[in-house]
Amino acid sequence: MTMLNVGRQTRPEESASLTPAYPGRGLLQDEPLIFELGGWTKTGVDFPDEATDTADLAGLTRTLPLRLPGLSEPETVRHYVRLSQKNHAIDLALYPLGSCTMKHNPRLDEKLARLPGFIDLHPLQPISTVQGALSVMDTLAHWLKTLTGMPAVALTPKAGAHGELCGLLAIRAAHLARGDARRVVLAPTSAHGTNPATAALAGYEVREIAQTESGHVDLADLEAKLGPDVAAVMVTNPNTCGLFEPDVIEIARLTHAAGAYFYCDGANFNAIVGRVRPGDLGVDAMHINLHKTFSTPHGGGGPGAGPVVLSAELAPYAPTPWLVHGDGGFDLIEEPVGAAEGSFGRMSAFQGQMGMYVRALAYMMSHGADGLRQVAEDAVLNANYVKARLSGVMTPAFPDGPCMHEALFDDTWLEGSGVTTLDFAKAMIDAGFHPMTMYFPLVVHGAMLIEPTETESRGELDRFCDTILELAAAVKAGDTERFTGAPFHAPLKRLDETLAARKPRLRWSAEAAA
């Protein structure tokens, strides 16, 4: 049997015993589910009295009652405000989730995305009535192409993983257009899980490229694995260890020499925006997470947007719709015909994530070319500062040389302490911070990946580092209780993930609640 990613504690030590619910604790209110608030016949929306004739829907109307509770407006507001207060957020404190780029979300962007000319625009209105929206898309495309040094961009993918799929489908179409049905995609062992998952979704077999001791792609291994069956090499750069691949140009050269395309996962573009153009590195396709580098809000898990920049060779295969400059203004080519004849087709209904385009463009225009370069510099500076301040106590996975936008530590420094990476992370919650990314990348034991981003002040970074150092001192002092039982001060204690997975309860039901 092969074991992946084993050995993580996922269950609280203490056995769960039922204790009565508490009504509140300070500012935190206990809050039931909407299904327990009793509004089975209520509604919080007022409608005009209007009868309808359902004669032609005979036999098609719902016969079962719709068991959905309704709440009045004040009850609704209180319910969701109470729930909101059980969340950590970037607006509250540093949120150092490595590879997620949790940075400040400007409220100007929110305001502009809600202008009626953007939010109240139907995707299938006549083209003549949406020229402003198409102009936003065109301007965004221009900024993305200029910042990456790439000639084309497909805007429509709805998130990073969707962008990866877009890139691989364009690569697949380009190979097939030459009658070359290649079957393999190479990706480093340190790759984010979406890379192999996407490659498999695109119909490819995934093979891993080894990593060197210094955390980079092993060129010799790459060269050995490249061959006539390899369609693409997928490399994250800066990589998931927070390091820039120094041999990236050679990786591109080897890849191209083997007749394959070079796909760059641009999840970490924030580290190099304005300082390095992927087009100068030999990249053929790269997705850009607008919700990372260009600061559209993460929203508790989306929505995101994942435009993909493409080389001239891949551009003809970009998904529909295409935005083009027509005689009377902007136009959309919505089917794979005419200029878009080579397109691999449509990835979703409509034009992509317009709401995210407006936010990202407002963010870019605010920073400008000079500010975006400063973004990369400050993001890298902040990460190296955290790495420098913590390295005396924690063990950096790659101590030599600078990191990029995130600092990676392993759990060597916790060995023998009785405290695991998970325990340490949970204790950070008690100290007011969101934990860093844990146990990723998989190539580093007990990984702790810290990405502060450029929107943290030196004061907040020091507050964070001082807290970590104080916690580390407690580990050394043998105060393991503080860790293994953590968090003590969160709305809930550690949750039983094992129970959740063994006996899945994925929805509320009257029977189960009775």
Binding site: L60, H104, A200, P246, D280, S348, H367, G371
Partner: protein, 452 residues
Amino acid sequence: MRYLPLTPDDRAAMLAVIGAATIDDLFIDVPASARLAKPVDLPPHAGELEVERALSALAAKNRAAGTGPFFCGAGAYRHHVPATVDHLIQRSEFLTSYTPYQPEIAQGTLQTLFEFQTQVAELLGLPVANASMYDGSTGCAEAVLMASRATKRSGAVLSGGLHPHYAEAAHTLAVAAGVETHRLSAAIDDEAAVIAAIGPDTACVVVQTPNVFGTVTDVTPIAQAAHAAGALMIVVTTETVSLGLLKSPGEMGADIAVAEGQSIGNGLNFGGPYVGLFACTEKLTRQIPGRLCGQTVDAEGRRGFVLTLSTREQHIRRDKATSNICTNSGLCALAFTIHMSLLGGTGLRTLAQINHARTLSLKKALAAVPGVEVLTPRLFNEFAIRLPTDAAAVVEALARKDIIAGVPYARLDPDAGLDDVLLVCATETTTAGDIAAFAAALDANLNGEIAA
């Protein structure tokens, strides 16, 4: 720069702590040939006022749906969203948090996801729902792949009433995954053709109701035929409000139901972001793509919620995952769940009835225009009409009179030979005045010369 807190003094002091002379020392791994010496050729930074001015000018070049008569549907619907919804989703704790990886400090997001999943499961009439997909169309494509995995078969029958964009998105994903789609020709009502197309290698049958032409179908007989052949029934709904009045997919025998949830809580947004609703039978739970939130207890026995059954997902199963989806539509799902909590089953039913009533008024008014033929036999809040001329030309002409008349079917499916078909929609936002203005303008456009 207002978003960057570091001062020049901070930067100098921090470089000293790091032991680097200049910021360039931190970029030494970048090949020298790729280091940009100066900013790229784009405008410099701008203040709030300038950015607001520039983007407001672009917004003003669009004709917002709410500024006049407006009749577009076909996969995206203009509904009234209560002010409360947008206020609540802009709370920092919802807007600026991420995927709830640390459940102890993410119960707000997790509990709303649990409520969302329950609402979606109830609406779609199936026991299990996930925490959202990007939108209805990508949910539909994922459902086709899921059915293929579950049945170990490689054929998918797509009804001719399925939104063409959905069919195309499913086809794009299916081709790469080795699943063959059999898309039937565009049809207002094609139950018999769908049943006839089911074969021994059919993994799933995909039927939309109300379909792209607005036709409401009881898919029960199709589901029975699919099941008899060992295939799964996938029911697609692009207008979630219809579920307030119509039989749910589960009630009609769906194994997987997908819907576009934009109608509830979310604006039109020119096509995105939207929120895909995805539900299935219990048996298929472990094949479901995307995130699932589940109930559990904390170390003191208090109820809490976590992301669960994660071994299906990309970050654990990598190339064997059920999907590559990672980020989904969290905030749009939150907007959906808040709006649905305000409506409740009672409000949703009333909303659906009003939509239906306004659409019957629209149907009556348009049917009275000489030359217009209503094609849709059973409708909810949208329907297809045949015009005596090219529908796109009529839509353009009416747009010049500030009436957004609907969606020419040919825009979605240019090869179907249905250039004279127009898809129209009315919702609770459509007024009697809007309908009268549309009917009069259409009459003038089609019959103007005769009348004059």
